[in-house]
Amino acid sequence: MALMPEFVFLIRGGEENPQDFSLQELQVHVNKYFAWIEELTQAGHFKSGQPLAAQGKVVSRPAKDKVSIKDGPFAESKEAIQGFFLIQANDLNQAVELAQGCPVLDLGGGVEVRPIAVEIAQGLKEKME
């Protein structure tokens, strides 16, 4: 059986002022997510998901012998990644269609749909077998 292509949905932004939400509105939002995931799960698309914490560091090497470590206030940025989902779909078109159900869109956020490089993954799998 051919492996079904996998995609990562990177969930961006959409949470500019969550503290302005009433608990009822938060609840409605979370329930929308659950309904969406439930749908994906029933149809065999959902594999897993993880939220990302707001804190973290950015490590870079601006000069040859210098390492820079900066605090990242990730949650504040409008473009910040809030979390990701691992999704199975037939192809990119279908994945994009599935992403359109993501409730983050209702809050002005976006979903970045990225195929996992299948060739490599399959190659590795064959090797392991």
């Binding site: 009822q24 609840q27 659950f34 897993s48 998901g49 939220p51 979390g83």
Partner: protein, 430 residues
């Protein structure tokens, strides 16, 4: 924590998740306040809000944790600790809090459930403390126990958000300054305090039920919350009195009929035209059960009588089968306990059913000079109905017009305008 989590929990969770955040919020605030005291109410509320925000950010990705309540408790507790840690002056408070709360977390499940319920009762008695004015009691109850936001409270009562915010700040300040203990009152103190709590819950229910103004969904939510809190009260030894049972009965017996009160277009339906199949039978049975519990002693309160009247309506299979003499008798008793013109008006309706429209009108004449009643649209609508029955279309038209000027609710305006038009047609047709 992958797809299985969603599959196994989802169906079960969907049934109670609708108000999970709001209800858990009240429980968490109540429990944490027990350890920190009422002077830290603000800090506790912030910590709980943050915990729920975290849940809203994380649960969508991983599904609801196996024990959502424990998860929220853990996070809220840590948030409170973080907040205490930020203040150097609170070091003693912090270490004491950490020690005490640890024992609490390890209580066995049934005991923990009891402690949470007990904490909620303490919070209810605090929010309904007589040092606070009634409107502050209601606002604080909704905010702190029911997890309503300030805009939601403002929408429910058609007041400015700033007004709600001010009420809450003042109420909390008053609680701090008075140094109120966080407890369920005992002994001779209990009975008058319980009465205040019952009054606040009654007010909360009525605000939702009477639907005079404001957002309909939110108002229905007020009814549900009033029923929930009264249910909590009646299950606690301190609140388990015949009056509380009667109060709960009256709420259930009214709420059971809410669904049938409007047609699909949102138009109000009078009792006679309601589809009784739409009444919530399970809720009626529950209400009758509590009414029975309420009559185990000789005590008779207004709640008993109002519940009794609601019960008469609920058990009538159709309008014509309503026990009007029974209802009239209950109104007579009610009027003795509380000689209010609004009750007298309702009694006149029952009287008209028993002894005819003329008798009803005569009873209304006796109260029509009262200042509270003649600015009340229901007074004119009721009188118009009786004039209509007697064929006095001119007087009826006049009263419908008067009623129309006194209500701002669209569904009521529609209803009255329809009645007025029908009445005018009769008048024109001779």
């Amino acid at each position: 924590m992958s797809q299985n989590n969603f599959l196994s929990h989802q169906t079960e969770v969907n049934q109670w998740v609708d108000a999970l955040f709001r209800h858990e919020s009240g429980k968490l605030v109540a429990s944490l306040t027990r350890f920190l005291g009422l002077s830290y109410l603000e800090l506790v509320e912030d910590a709980v809000q943050e915990a729920l925000l975290k849940a809203a950010r994380q649960w969508p990705y991983r599904g609801i944790p196996e024990q959502p309540t424990a998860w929220l408790w853990q996070v809220a507790k840590n948030q409170a600790i973080d907040r205490l840690r930020r203040e150097k002056t609170l070091a003693t408070k912090l270490s004491q809090f950490v020690q005490e709360i640890d024992q609490y977390t390890h209580l066995p499940e049934p005991q923990l459930a009891y402690e949470i319920q007990d904490s909620l009762l303490r919070l209810i008695f605090t929010c309904c403390h007589p040092i606070l004015p009634p409107e502050a009691q209601v606002a604080l109850t909704l905010k702190t126990i029911c997890g309503f936001s300030i805009p939601e409270i403002a929408r429910a009562f058609l007041i400015l958000e700033a007004t709600v915010a001010k009420r809450l700040v003042r109420a909390k300040q008053k609680i701090r300054e008075a140094g109120l203990p966080y407890e369920v009152p005992q002994g001779s103190e209990l009975s008058p305090r319980l009465e205040t709590v019952q009054e606040v819950l009654y007010l909360l229910f009525n605000e939702g039920y009477s639907a005079s103004q404001g957002d309909r969904l939110i108002r229905w939510e007020l009814c549900r919350e009033a029923i929930r809190l009264t249910g909590l009260l009646v299950e606690h030894p301190a609140g388990d009195t015949v009056q509380t049972h009667a109060l709960l009965a009256l709420m259930l017996l009214h709420a059971a009929r809410l669904n049938a009160r409007q047609d699909e277009g949102g138009h109000l339906l009078p009792l006679a035209e309601q589809d009784r199949l739409q009444w919530d039978k399970a809720m009626i049975l529950k209400g009758l059960h509590h009414l029975e519990q309420a009559t185990t002693t000789q005590d008779l309160s207004e709640y008993h009588l109002e519940a009794g009247i609601a019960a008469c309506h609920c058990v009538a299979p159709h309008y014509a089968a309503t026990d009007w003499p029974g209802i009239l008798h209950l109104y007579d008793l009610l009027l003795k306990l509380n000689p209010s013109p609004v009750i007298a008006l309702n009694r006149a309706v029952a009287l008209a059913e028993v002894a005819g429209a003329e008798a009803g009108l005569e009873a209304i004449r006796q109260i029509q000079d009262s200042a509270t009643i003649n600015s009340y649209h229901f007074f004119y609508a009721t009188r118009a109905e009786l004039y209509l029955k007697l064929g006095d279309y001119e007087s009826a038209c006049h009263d419908y017009e008067q009623a129309l000027t006194l209500t701002g609710v669209p569904s009521e305006k529609d209803f009255l305008a329809g009645k007025l038009a029908a009445c005018q047609a009769k008048l024109a047709g001779g």
